[in-house]
Point group: D2
Chain length 341, copies 4
């Protein structure tokens, strides 16, 4: 950390802050500049103490130097993590293609979708049984019945099942059926839930909150990793900005930025990231060109009749076209879709 | 809802959408414009069906007309709600002043703060026993021991206790000690938790998520109201924007905007909303001038040594000055601080 | 500046950067931390060289310490600047109240507004003769005829005239009629125009761009100050965020933040800052409570028939109510409206 | 337009608004809903009158139906526009690759860069002679001397020259040397400048302002098109959001969104869009996968010594790698780089 003193801070204030830094077990290196004095605080401590120093007398700011996350960082583990769950492999040379309906509505809808995406080349099935909905008046999911349908679809197609868990008390139930537990964007900072999926141990797909910084995303992953679960996939699904022509703004530069800093794989969700069927395929291709380790895409047999998110779902033919475009782009950037490369 | 057809949508597409609207139990009024056809869909249904219509053939957009929330709206209940909890009254002519430490650290810290804010004129005590923290390496709160300290402080000072609950399983414990259950910004869309505090029945302080729209805030309140709990206070605590000189951006226009649309009282948090001690007092005064029904302010005996949020906490003297300024502004805008007006 | 080297940067890279820092005429203080080496670069240079250092080998980041602006800063001039222009005084104890129509439409509209706002207590008249409009199909202003109308209104009411200039070539014409030259939000970073109004010398009202940081606003002011014109008023008029229920988000914490760092006065525009008539008065009062040195408010005899911005304009009675509320809040925070205090 | 009346608006207010709509030359279709009355206003008028209606009595909101731009829209001209300028062709099947230094610094720097990017496959040379800089203390460009250097580089390499013009008075000078006039992001809403480049007639590269909506970008283009210049390239270069790990957030979904609505070609700037050398290549490839019609990339012989933007410039080898990756992705999505396809 660098403690920046205000212009005109008194020698006593500087002395006081040097002592504070040393009380925290850090070594203080004061540097007397032409307008400001700064105190470099050296040691292994991350910025736990940053806040404490910031309210010291005469302090203008405290600048962190170390990244706040540890276990998720490439500095700790340079080689990329590959997360595997049945038919799904994500990371390093493996491109995971997760597709399926926003919500599980009935057996036929889910089975037919699973078959169609399997044929098109998907490597896992997504589908929501517990749906967190903005409005209490919207469809909230089939719950256990939905999980059973997903398991039936896995049985038939061999596709691993990715499904969301929205509360700690549901984890045992959901984990009985799912291959990957998804933490939704709204729950990215539900720390109790993060710890609980960390303890459960099944692979986790962790979605970025729409106003979370990438540091906060990595710290959320850190909660899961610290609880003993190394199988975390990060998911960029768009952030909230002033743009209203898309549902969210999908900032694909997150992908190479994260790859530099973390060994965890990065999946992109072009469905939520755009919110419009006719933008999904192009952004899927762009995500792969940006280096994404996987995609998660909403597909529905008849988007117009979907109980949720129909406006951003692809029908079977559109998904086939997406897969065909993505396969070509993946090859262009030296990646292959699927687990068996 | 207004279904806007694309320029050049075919008569068959228009006809199809008219049928879809009527299948949903709404009455369809097509209007043939010079460039676009629009279909007004009339009926009591809110926008549950909006998504379904948006993916119809030839549809450019669906524009909602009705607000998505009901029970929270002034249309349903025109008179302002007053939320009361012991020494605290918030809403209508009552200005609630909630103050105290970010986190309960020990008995002495909390008691001395409670005494000081009571003398200065606060009408409730805040303090965190369960702390949701961005980093797993930060102080996570004293939990039950913290709740006991808060109860002791209430015992002595008579101040109602406002404290956060971060998981459904903690509600019985927290509700045993607290007068008001706070839902933090990160949990604004933790719907299971919202339903649970709705069922518990104690007054709730619901903080706006940093990227939540005001419609989403009202829908989150609706989850609580629908579960049978009418005592909800909304809390504006700042949104995330490109501004980095403040921790969040505090958009005070939320206050009059909400007052037009909802009967629920609106509390402002200038501590999180700015993130800097020396901006808190001015923004507290501004919030009251904007019409806020209450404030929630972080106060600490020695901010420099606080275990969390010291950089945005006031010391006792600063809080006294805040109260003195706020009292004058409250009078200027025709409000009085406290429950006994 | 602090040059932060990457984890694992080689001794040669550190040495290279030390040399680079010294080539720039700064003194280099390397500090060898447990994970990172940082090099403090001490000297009078601001961050002109920051970019150059950022692309050095092994560099993770360069952290500026000095603020990038000079002449605008309180460190250079601690006492607050008071800007005066005829009937208008803004800064220190003076609260300037600038009111009038968005666009000058005709003599009667402007004269009647000038009279009404004068009676209500305004200390200057605003009105656009050159209108920058998002759409080429919108009303673009009366230009010279509009300036003549403004001058006639000043003649009769004694109110100083504040009006926008949108291009360097118009400055001589506009300056012949105006008392204060307004730089609109869209032109905040039109540096050629800033230099030109700096050279002209008349007082300037500089509006913040909707995505400008406060540092960028102060640097824009610096362009004007450096050209020899010390009479600059800053204007907070709202920033663009994800919020769509207001036209912009009005971040009033800018006011105390700017007051700490600059001696220039800060005016707030609650009309553009909210975009809705019924939010203007409350946000005007809030701005004064936050410490604003003045307001600029849109007023129109008949907002419904206004050629621009009617939806955010007050009618005469609404403005009177605004003045009455603001006067009470001003008193509560120890300020007085007008030049003669 | 749809005029939405407030819940509880009186029959007189509805009648008044019907009359207002018809006074504006539009046909009014009132629809009486269960909670709100809405009035559809049909006619060829765009939303010039929207503001006027919004301040009517009892009006809750006015919802525009028609896009505010005309000439730029695909409805007016369905086939894509190809912009050509010497060696550069952009649009339809043509991918333009514009590369070169942020600022022209001297002959050697510019010539060597032009040669290198030509060999790597660029189809035009960029370089700034007039530099708009946030700080008055930064390097402001070589001006005419810079233009002469650019012309010399074109002479030798045959590459068309793209360079920024920052003020109307400079247009004759800049147009004498440049093949394409660039309007920078800060000037996107400098309407006088837009009209002036519209009248000049040379092809224009129009950069999106960092807080401009895409509708505003298209309206800015409309200013140029309306002045008689059909050769406009739009440029997505990133928007300002809460993300601070990248300089701007690059929202590539703009590309397919714009392609649906406008016939104008869309160029992407991954250098400003990310602000970090090591993110540029990946985002360049992603832009092409998203369907961009061209790229504009900063390249410098020695980024570390660049007078501006070194931290986001590629060196020659990095640019070669970018071209090689982009060529493969272009092929994968069915595009070819260069004018001779």
């Amino acid at each position: 950390m660098i403690v920046v003193m205000k212009h005109g801070a008194s020698p006593e204030q500087v002395q006081h802050m040097i002592q504070r830094v040393e009380q925290l077990g850090l070594k203080a290196h004061p540097i007397y500049g032409t307008e400001h004095t700064v105190i470099a605080a050296v040691g292994e401590k991350r910025d736990e103490f940053r806040q404490s120093l910031e309210s010291g007398p005469g302090v203008a700011a405290v600048v962190p130097i170390l990244a706040p996350y540890k276990v998720a960082s490439r500095e700790v583990k340079p080689e990329p993590t590959v997360v595997r769950a049945g038919s799904l492999a994500v990371g390093n040379c493996h491109l995971g293609m997760i597709a399926g309906p926003c919500a599980v509505e009935d057996l036929e809808q889910t089975l037919s979708t699973a078959r169609a995406v399997r044929v098109a080349g998907a490597t896992a099935l997504r589908g929501g049984a517990f749906k967190p909905r903005t409005s209490p008046y919207s469809f909230q999911g089939l719950k256990q019945a939905g999980l059973e349908i997903l398991a039936a679809a896995r049985e038939e197609t061999g596709l691993a099942v990715v499904t969301e868990v929205i509360a700690g008390e549901d984890i045992p139930l959901v984990a009985r059926y799912a291959d990957v537990l998804q933490i939704g964007a709204r729950n990215m900072q539900n720390y109790r839930l993060l710890e609980a999926v960390g303890e459960e141990g099944k692979p986790v797909l962790l979605k970025r909150g729409p106003s979370a910084t990438l540091d906060e995303l990595l710290l959320a992953a850190e909660y899961i990793l610290n609880a003993g679960n190394p199988n975390v996939m990060l998911c960029e699904r768009g952030i909230r900005t002033f743009e209203s022509h898309t549902r969210y703004t999908l900032p694909l530069a997150s992908v190479p930025w994260l790859h530099e800093r973390t060994h965890l794989p990065v999946v992109v969700d072009p469905s939520h990231g755009t919110g419009h069927t006719n933008l999904v395929t192009r952004m899927a291709a762009a995500a792969i060109a940006a280096g994404a380790d996987g995609l998660i895409v909403e597909v529905h047999p008849d988007p117009e009749s979907a109980l949720s998110d129909g406006y951003q779902s692809l029908n079977f033919q559109q998904f086939e076209e997406l897969m065909s475009l993505c396969r070509r782009v993946a090859e262009a950037v030296g990646r292959k879709i699927g687990p068996y490369s």
